[in-house]
Subunit: 139 residues, 3 copies
Amino acid sequence: MRQHHTTLHVTTHGRSLVEITRSIADWLHGTGIEAGVLTIFIRHTSASLLIQENADPDVQADLERFFARLVPDGDPLYEHRSEGPDDMPAHVRSALGQVHLAVPVLQGRMALGAWQGVYVHEHRRHGQVRQVVVQVMGE
Amino acid sequence: MRQHHTTLHVTTHGRSLVEITRSIADWLHGTGIEAGVLTIFIRHTSASLLIQENADPDVQADLERFFARLVPDGDPLYEHRSEGPDDMPAHVRSALGQVHLAVPVLQGRMALGAWQGVYVHEHRRHGQVRQVVVQVMGE
Amino acid sequence: MRQHHTTLHVTTHGRSLVEITRSIADWLHGTGIEAGVLTIFIRHTSASLLIQENADPDVQADLERFFARLVPDGDPLYEHRSEGPDDMPAHVRSALGQVHLAVPVLQGRMALGAWQGVYVHEHRRHGQVRQVVVQVMGE
């Protein structure tokens, strides 16, 4: 059993999903690990990780519509606004999402379903560079 | 350290929870792993995984009531409706849930609490067959 | 590759976040594991785990405000009220949160971002003692 890790620096473009499936798959291929578990971890509290449908772009736009209604910017409910009207909503959205993902590796590939893609979900209005740690353990 | 994996094919019956605790426990017992980590991964974007109370069936019905109010079918908010009024709501419910679970294995068993059960949470109105990858690493 | 595990008993004080970053970091240091994956699992269905900002305490108060509005106590929607008006809301809040976390270990430390802390998120109104299993695998 052996392990490898890397850190991806993912540039986001405001509130939206950035797909990282291919970056992770290419890195995984390079490790030569055939079977094991891949762990993905985002080092932030205002962006999260999501596995969602990668076929119809409307799904991503609809997800954003849902979260914009559930967790609106500028909500007077919050005290924490030091970085603007999207500051606390970004923390809430993150708390509703995932800070990490674990994906089994089978036959050298992530065991994703046919329609599953791995995304960084940016919750701030402005683009950021997000650090994502990827670790694989297996053989 | 060694690892084992399997894929469960779980038949769901429309929007509800299907318990898979026993199936996983039986499989784990067969691997002979005494200590390690078990990873459970669902290969879909309109169903998710959930660890919840397995005692009072009202809890499951109440969870469904909550999600039906928060993410109603046929919501005019969404563009993506290619598979019907429950299509996009199923993706949203999945995004609020878990695509994977990790459970420590101690003394040959999942370290679940007394009232915890592992469930597939079906978010579509009609029954499906869902693929769940189960992987354990340990010794 | 080797593994270690422990169980933390975390005393909560009603509905709020209890930080456990330091307890886990100290235990991890004692294991001598330099690289691997740490798994954290809470053995309850009315409390959950959360990685969130550890700098401004307003963030925690605002998170509570959000959940109190989204999942109010005493909601007539629910049938399951055997333990009071916060019983079913605690299960719903847990279902929206995380029962487990996985954090990569690099250079002997959890690969947390600068502002990330690990918390037990208590969803019941009264304090409890919560069992949290912590497991690390690596070398």
